[in-house]
C-alpha cells in the first residue's frame, strides 16, 4: 500500500486516540452512558430470549402444580403485606422515640425493582447491567446501592436513560464500610482480584488483630461513607486471618451473585 495513504491514516489515528485519551472523567462517563444506551436494547432482547429458553428447558408445569404454587404465593404475599404493615408502624414508632432521645431519624429508602439484562464479559471486572436508568429515577452520577432481599449486591456506576451498570461487591473497586455482628469491629469490605460472579471472593480489611472472628458471624454495612445505608447484610465470615499490621476476614457474600436475576436499586430517602 502506498505511503501516501498509510502515513496520513496513521497520523489521523494518533490524533483521534490522543483526543479520546485526554477526555475528562465526566466526559468518559458520558461516552460510556451513551454506548450503554445503544447496546441495552440488544441486551434486553437477548436476556428475554435467554430467560424464555431457560423457562422452556426447565419444563412446563402441570395445572395442579401451578394452582398449588399460586395458593402458596398468595398466602406468602398476604403474610408479607401484614408483616410490612406492622414493621411500618414500628418504624414510625422507632423514629418518634429516636427523635424524643434526640437521635438522628433513621431514613427510609425507596426501592426500585430492576432486572439483570447482562453480565460483564471482561475477565477482571465484576459488573452487571440492569434494565433501569435515569428515566426510571436512578441518579445519572451513579453510586446508588443495589440490593436484594438477601443482602447487598453492589452500586450503580454508569447510568444511561434506560439501563445502568452495577459494580458488584465482588469487584475490587466496590468498597463498603462494614461492621461485624456482636462486636465493635469495623472495616472495609472489597472484592479480591481473582473474584468473579461464579466464585466471588470478598474480604473484610483493616480490622483489629485481636478481633478473633468466628465463621458464620454476619457482617453488615455500617452506613458510614454516605453511599450504602446501614444495616444491610453483606455476608458471613468464612475465615479470620491475622496479618502483619491488622486482621483480615474472608467473607461468603449473602447474595448468590451467580444466579442473581432481579435486584432493587435504592433510589432515595423518604422521611
Amino acid at each position: 500500500m502506498s505511503r501516501r495513504i498509510v502515513i496520513p491514516s496513521v497520523a489521523a489515528f494518533i490524533v483521534l486516540v490522543g483526543l479520546i485519551l485526554i477526555l475528562s472523567p465526566h466526559n468518559m462517563r458520558r461516552v460510556q452512558a451513551g454506548f450503554l444506551g445503544l447496546i441495552s436494547p440488544f441486551l434486553k432482547t437477548g436476556s428475554t430470549v435467554e430467560k424464555k429458553f431457560r423457562e422452556f428447558r426447565e419444563g412446563l408445569k402441570t395445572l395442579d402444580q401451578l394452582e398449588a404454587d399460586n395458593k402458596r404465593l398468595s398466602i406468602a404475599n398476604k403474610d408479607l403485606s401484614a408483616t410490612n404493615q406492622t414493621l411500618r408502624g414500628l418504624e414510625a414508632e422507632n423514629n418518634q422515640l429516636r427523635k424524643a432521645l434526640q437521635y438522628r431519624e433513621r431514613a427510609v429508602f425507596t426501592l426500585k425493582p430492576a432486572r439483570i439484562i447482562g453480565r460483564d464479559a471482561s475477565t477482571w471486572y465484576n459488573k452487571i447491567v440492569i434494565d433501569r436508568g435515569s428515566e426510571d429515577g436512578l441518579a445519572k452520577e451513579g453510586d446508588q446501592p443495589v440490593l436484594t432481599e438477601a443482602g447487598l449486591v453492589g452500586k450503580t456506576t454508569v447510568v444511561s436513560d434506560h439501563s445502568a451498570t452495577v459494580v458488584l461487591i465482588a469487584d475490587e473497586t466496590c468498597k463498603v464500610a462494614g461492621n461485624v455482628e456482636g462486636t465493635r469491629e469495623q472495616g472495609i469490605i472489597k472484592g479480591e482480584r481473582m473474584s468473579n460472579s461464579r466464585t466471588p471472593s470478598v474480604g473484610l480489611n483493616f480490622i483489629s488483630k485481636q478481633a478473633n472472628l468466628q465463621p458464620g458471624q454476619n457482617v453488615y454495612t455500617s452506613g458510614t461513607g454516605g453511599v450504602f445505608p446501614g444495616g444491610v447484610l453483606i455476608g458471613q465470615v468464612k475465615e479470620f486471618k491475622v496479618k502483619e499490621l491488622d486482621g483480615y476476614a474472608s467473607l461468603i457474600p449473602a447474595v448468590d451473585l451467580a444466579t442473581l436475576e432481579d435486584v432493587f436499586v435504592v433510589v432515595g430517602k423518604t422521611k
Binding site: 500500500m1 489515528f13 435467554e50 475477565t123 451513579g142 456506576t157
Partner: protein, 189 residues
Amino acid sequence: MRFFALLCVAMFAGLVGQHFIGPLPPYGARVLLLPVIMFYGALALPVPGMLALALCGGLMWDALHVQVILPEENSVEVALGWSIVLYAVLGTLMSGFRPLFQRGRWEIHCLLSGVCTSVIVLAEYLMRTFRADPDNPVVLIFNQEIWWRIGGAGMIAAMLSPLFFFALNYLAFLVGHDPQPARKGRATT
C-alpha cells in the same frame, strides 16, 4: 467500505453475544469474541482499515468494559482509549502476517489470534494492577488462577478463530470483498 461496516456490525454483535456467555470453569476464563473479529479484520483489511477497526473495537470495548471511574478521587482507573492502542499494536503485528493470509494460509493466524487475545487479557490485568488502588503498594499476583484466565481466554479464541475466519471470509465474498486474492487457483495470470 461495505466490508468494514460489516466487520463493525460483527464486532458489535460479538460484544453483545459475550454478555450471555458466562465465565468458564474451573477458573473463570472468558470467551472473547470481539478481539477474534478484530484480528480477522487486521488480516483482511489494509493498514488504514485495520487502524479504523482498532479504533471502533477498542472504543466499544472500553466504553462497556474496561475503564472504571473512582468516585472518591474523580479519577479513572484505566482511561477510555487504552484498548484502541492495544488493538492497534496487536493488529499491526497481525498485519505482518497478511501476505501469508492472502495466499490462503490460516493456521498461524488462528494461533496468533489466540496469543494476541491472551496479551489483551494480560495487559488489562497489568493496567488494573498498576492503577487500581493508589493508596496501596502494587502487588502483582501470578498464580495458577490468573494464568488460567489469561491463557484460557487465548486458547478459546484460538479454537474459535477458524470458525470465525471461515464465516467472515464467506461474508466478505457476499459483500464483494476478496480477503485472499493470492490464494492458489484464484490468482490471476
